[in-house]
Assembly symmetry: C2
DNA sequence: ATAGGCAATGCAAACGTTTGCATTGCCAAA
DNA sequence: TTTGGCAATGCAAACGTTTGCATTGCCTAT
C-alpha cells in the first residue's frame, strides 16, 4: 500500500537501516548507494511515516496550542488568530506541527490528553488557562510550556510572553503630549488585572517624566463617563484627552463626546489600546496603541522550541513592544 | 519511564494482549482479571500511547485543518476562529485531535505533509486553497476532505459547507420591506464570485416575490456611492435602502450618507452582510445578515467525521442558514 | 607483510500497541 | 465417556522506523 523504507531497501538491494541513514544523514554512505536510494525514493514517492519515527525516537515534533474557547470576546479572538498563524509558521519552519485544543475551565483533561497520550513535545497556552490545578501540573514536571500573557502571580518557574503594557502606556501619553494635549486621563476596566496595573504605572511614570499634571485614572462606567464629559463641557475640569484601555471603552467615550457636539480631536483627544480592525473606520479614525499579536505568537513559539530543543533549563519571558498608530482622533495640531 | 501496557501486564501477572483487550473491550475477559487490570492501570496512572496505537491500526484519529494565512483580512479571520473552535470541539467529542497548518498559495507541501507524513485521517480546508494542483490531489484519491465555502466550479466530487447566501439575501430584502422601505439597492464587491452571485439571485427573487421595483444591483466604489447618494438627495432616484455585501462597504456607505446629513434609518435604511463585532457599536448600530460561523465549523467537522468513520461514499454538502439581526440602521417604523 | 583503522553496510532489537491464531480448561450435549 | 464448543488467555508477528553493535573490505602506516 503505502511505500515504506523496506520497499526502498528491497528495490535498491540494500538494508532498511541504510535507507534510514541516508534519509537522516546519520552515517557515511557511499555516494553511489546514496544516489540510488534517493532516486528510488523519488520514483516510488516515498514519505517517511512520522508515527513510526516518533515511536522510536521519543519525540513527536508536535507542539500543543490551547485556545480559550470560553472566551466569547470577539475582540481578543480576532487578535488571537494572528498568534495562531505565527505559531504555526515558526513551528513549521523548524519541522514541528501544531495540535490545537480548546480549553474549558472546568477540566483540563484535553490538555492532559495532549501531553500524556498524544505526546506533544511542548505546549503554548493562554494565561486564562493557568488556574490552580493546571499550574501545579505544568510546573511540577519539567515539561516545556510557554504562557501567552503575564501570569497574575509572580513565579520564576513560568515562562511567558506578553505585550509591554507599561511601555505602550508611556507611548500613548507621549503621543498625546506631542499633539498638544496637556491633561490626559486613563480609563481602565479593572485595576486589579496585571495588564491594567502596568498601564497605570506607565501612565503615571510618563506623566511625571513629562512634568504634566494628569487628570488621573478612572475606572470606566457609562455613567461616570457622561458625568466627566459634562464637567469638561462646563469647564469644571481641564481634562483634554482620554487613553482608553480597550476599544469598547473608546467607542463609548467617542459616542458620549459626540453626543455633546464636542469635537474630536480639536477639543478632546482619544487614543485606545487594542487595534481592533474597525478602529480605523470610526469617525474620527481612532489612534491606537497597537499590539503585534503575530509577533507575540512568534516569540512564544520561539521560546518554546528553544526550550524543547536546547533543553535550556533557564526559563525566559519576553515583552513585545507596543506601537502607536496615529490616526485622526489625536491630531489636534496640524503639523 | 512512562508506564506501558507491559508494565501493567507484568504487575497483574498477565499477558500484554489481555490488557489491551481490556482497554479496548475487544474480547471477553473475566470480571476478576478485568478489575485487577483496571485497578493497576489507575494506580500506575497509565495512559495509552496514541502513536503506537495509530501505527498498528492505521488510523491516527487526527484531522487536519488548514487555515488561510495569506488572508490578511481581519474580518474573515475574526469569523474563522469560531469555526476553528467548533471544529475542534466536535472532533474532540468523537475522540479526534486537530492538527492545523497554514497554507500559502505558492505551494501545498504543508498540506501534503499532513496527509503523507502525519497521516491525518481527513482534512478541512478553506475554499481559497482549492486551486488547481490541490483540487486534483484531493479528488484523485478518495481521501476524506471537506471544503469551507462553496467552490467556484461545480463539481460533484467535492464536499463543502457554506452559508446560504441566497436565503440571507432574501431575508435582508424581507427585513427592509417589513420596515417600510420600498426600493432597496444591492451593493456588491465583485459580481463574479460565487457568493455574490447567490446574493444577487436571492435579492432578485425576493424583490420579484414581493412585487417591488428594486433600485438594482451595483458594484461598489467610493465614487459611485457618492454619486448615487447625491442623486438620492436630489430626488433623482427613489432608492431608499442599501444591502451591503460586506461591512467595509457598509461603513463607507454610512459615512457618505451621514456626510450629507441624511438620516439613517429614517430616510435611508442600511443592512449589511457579515456581523463584524463592531457593527453594533456603529451609529446607528448596524442591522446585519449574520453568519453563524460556529455552526459552519460544526457542520464541516460532522461531515468530515462521518465520511471518515462511516466511509460514506456519497459526498454531501450543506448550507447553513443566515439570520437577520435587526439593530437601528433599518428601523424606519417605530412598531 | 601485517596490524590497525575507518568507511560502508548489515543484523536485530526496540519503541508500545493490536490481533490472528493457538492453547487451555471447563461445561453441556450426545 | 467422549466430543464439541466456548470462554479466557497466551504467543508472536506486525505496524515503520531508528540505532547499537557486528561485520566486511580496503587502505595506510609500520
Amino acid at each position: 500500500m503505502t511505500v515504506t523504507i523496506k520497499d526502498i531497501a528491497k528495490a535498491v538491494g540494500v538494508n532498511p537501516s541504510t535507507v534510514s541513514r541516508v534519509i537522516n544523514g546519520t552515517a557515511s554512505i557511499s555516494e553511489e548507494t546514496k544516489e540510488k536510494i534517493l532516486q528510488v525514493m523519488k520514483e516510488l514517492d516515498y514519505h517517511p511515516n512520522s508515527l513510526a519515527r516518533s515511536l522510536v525516537n521519543g519525540s513527536t515534533f508536535t507542539i500543543g496550542l490551547v485556545i480559550d474557547a470560553g472566551n466569547k470576546d470577539a475582540f481578543s479572538n480576532a487578535f488571537f488568530i494572528q498568534s495562531v498563524i505565527a505559531i504555526e509558521s515558526v513551528a513549521q519552519s523548524k519541522g514541528y506541527s501544531v495540535l490545537i485544543t480548546n480549553h474549558s475551565l472546568s477540566d483540563s483533561s484535553n490538555i492532559k490528553n495532549l501531553v500524556q497520550e498524544r505526546k506533544v513535545d511542548g505546549i503554548i497556552l493562554p494565561v486564562q488557562c493557568m488556574t490552580g490545578e493546571l499550574i501545579d501540573l505544568m510546573t511540577s514536571s519539567d515539561f516545556p510550556f510557554v504562557v501567552m500573557g503575564e501570569p497574575q502571580e509572580k513565579r520564576s518557574d513560568i515562562s511567558w510572553v506578553d505585550v509591554d503594557n507599561e511601555q505602550g502606556s508611556r507611548q500613548a501619553v507621549e503621543c498625546l503630549i506631542k499633539s498638544g494635549y496637556k491633561s490626559p486621563m486613563l480609563l481602565v476596566e479593572n485595576r486589579n488585572t496585571i495588564f491594567e496595573s502596568k498601564r497605570i504605572k506607565g501612565f503615571e511614570d510618563e506623566c511625571k517624566a513629562q512634568k504634566i499634571k494628569t487628570s488621573g485614572i478612572h475606572t470606566f462606567s457609562e455613567e461616570k463617563i457622561e458625568m466627566l464629559i459634562d464637567e469638561i463641557q462646563k469647564k469644571e475640569r481641564d481634562t483634554d484627552s482620554f487613553i482608553c484601555s480597550n476599544n469598547v471603552i473608546a467607542f463609548k467615550v467617542l459616542k458620549a463626546i459626540k453626543a455633546r457636539k464636542i469635537s474630536v480631536p480639536k477639543q478632546i483627544g482619544v487614543i485606545t489600546f487594542d487595534n481592533y480592525p474597525l478602529a480605523e473606520y470610526m469617525e474620527p479614525a481612532l489612534s491606537v496603541v497597537d499590539v503585534d499579536t503575530y509577533k507575540m505568537g512568534e516569540t512564544a513559539a520561539e521560546l518554546l522550541l528553544r526550550s524543547i530543543r536546547g533543553k535550556e533549563k533557564k526559563i525566559k519571558s519576553r515583552l513585545v513592544d507596543a506601537a502607536i498608530i496615529e490616526r485622526e482622533s489625536t491630531k489636534r495640531k496640524t503639523k
